[in-house]
Symmetry: C2
Subunit: 214 residues, 2 copies
DNA sequence: GTTGAAATTAGTACGAA
DNA sequence: TTCGTACTAATTTCAAC
């Protein structure tokens, strides 16, 4: 029903970008993932044809990806509006230290939470909820979240529009990006970028005052 | 490759929580969606059995849900760490008014962006990116985002851990919530909830100063 | 890693309740 | 509408190459 999902870390391997311990993923594996994230119901036979390998090979790789955990599961994307959950909100939560375990346990009991991530910055966690109406957000925050001792403070914003959601970003996309963006060729490095535009918010700096910069 | 996804609004219907114009979704439809979001590759035959309807009926409903758009697509969930994208970050963007169109167009050209939503509050949009290493986040923000005229300012936080992701929240979950949480047993109703804990950030208030409340 | 043939399963059509 | 059945097409499995 609810799923703990993998940490961002690389299971011990210190090298960022390094492929995980299990399978070595080659280009064909990545192409399979790319097709599967667009169409999770494609038959393995059709997959083999699109990738340009034999069916037996496709079955082997498909199973390997599943077994290795590179593919975690297959899922259907639902239109929430049509399913009666027209309101999406983000709730940024400040958690009392040493009460994370309780916070997580409570989260698991809230089915309207679609996503929760621990973040650096001003807050400690961001949760995304889907509910039927604005009142439900209010109820959720004031009745449920605020009653959790682990929750020190919350800040809620509403999502007005979801501009894009990609099924899942893959390294292949990065290569495309590198091509498209043709990155920071040291020579043509742009130094006219207005530095005041950007801000990186680390964990320590987090609770510090937030200046407004517009 | 990239997909515009539906607005939060209810396509004209003013009633929040109301099912969209197309299909009337009954309990069986919702049960089908519930199964499909857990296992997007289940066969329609197996689906029929689990729901307790005939195979023919299952095919009809399955197709109807697809045609109606209640099911938008099927996708595979990838383990990003294993795929070489170990870093996830959230970038909050302040967008110059009347340059939204440009902003969206540029977003479409950034494959490392997995999700983008327009929000109320201090910022105008939140984008989630997946990249190989921390340096790539820096490059993304300073070289790509900052060079978009539509982008007035950004604020970046890193995701340290993704605590939970549910495939998709459905109204049925709400019912469960009501049951599970069955919470405020009037006797143990807590009226000592510190109101200062919560903050709702509307669009207008947005750019106002942000006090620190810890 | 590939191909081809057998076994199984999926998808369609249609009449009856 | 929904169900049950029969029919056709496709997929998966498994063998040998």
């Amino acid at each position: 029903m609810m799923s703990e999902i993998s940490r961002n870390g690389h299971s011990g391997s210190g090298q960022p970008g390094r492929i995980g311990i299990g399978l070595e993923l080659d280009d064909i594996h990545l192409k399979i993932l790319e097709i599967l994230r667009e169409n999770g119901r494609i038959s393995v036979a059709a997959l083999a044809e699109r990738v340009g390998i034999s069916r037996a090979n496709a079955y082997t790789r498909f199973e390997a990806l599943r077994a290795d955990g590179a593919i975690k599961r297959f899922t259907a994307e639902i239109d929430h509006g049509r399913a009666g959950l027209g309101i999406t909100a983000l709730i940024f939560v400040t958690v009392r230290q040493q009460m994370w375990k309780q916070f997580r346990a409570e989260l698991a009991r809230m089915p309207e939470v679609e996503y929760c991530a621990i973040t650096t910055g001003q807050h400690d966690a961001m949760i995304q909820v889907r509910v039927a109406d604005v009142a439900a957000v209010h109820t959720m925050v004031t009745d449920r979240l605020a009653n959790i001792p682990a929750v020190k403070a919350t800040e809620t914003v509403f999502i007005l529009d979801e501009v894009l959601r990609r099924p899942y970003v893959l390294p292949g996309d990065g290569r495309q990006a590198a091509r498209q963006a043709r990155r920071p060729a040291p020579s043509e490095e742009r130094d006219d970028v207005p530095l005041g535009k950007m801000r990186f918010v680390g964990a320590a700096e987090g609770r510090a005052a937030l200046r407004k910069d517009d």
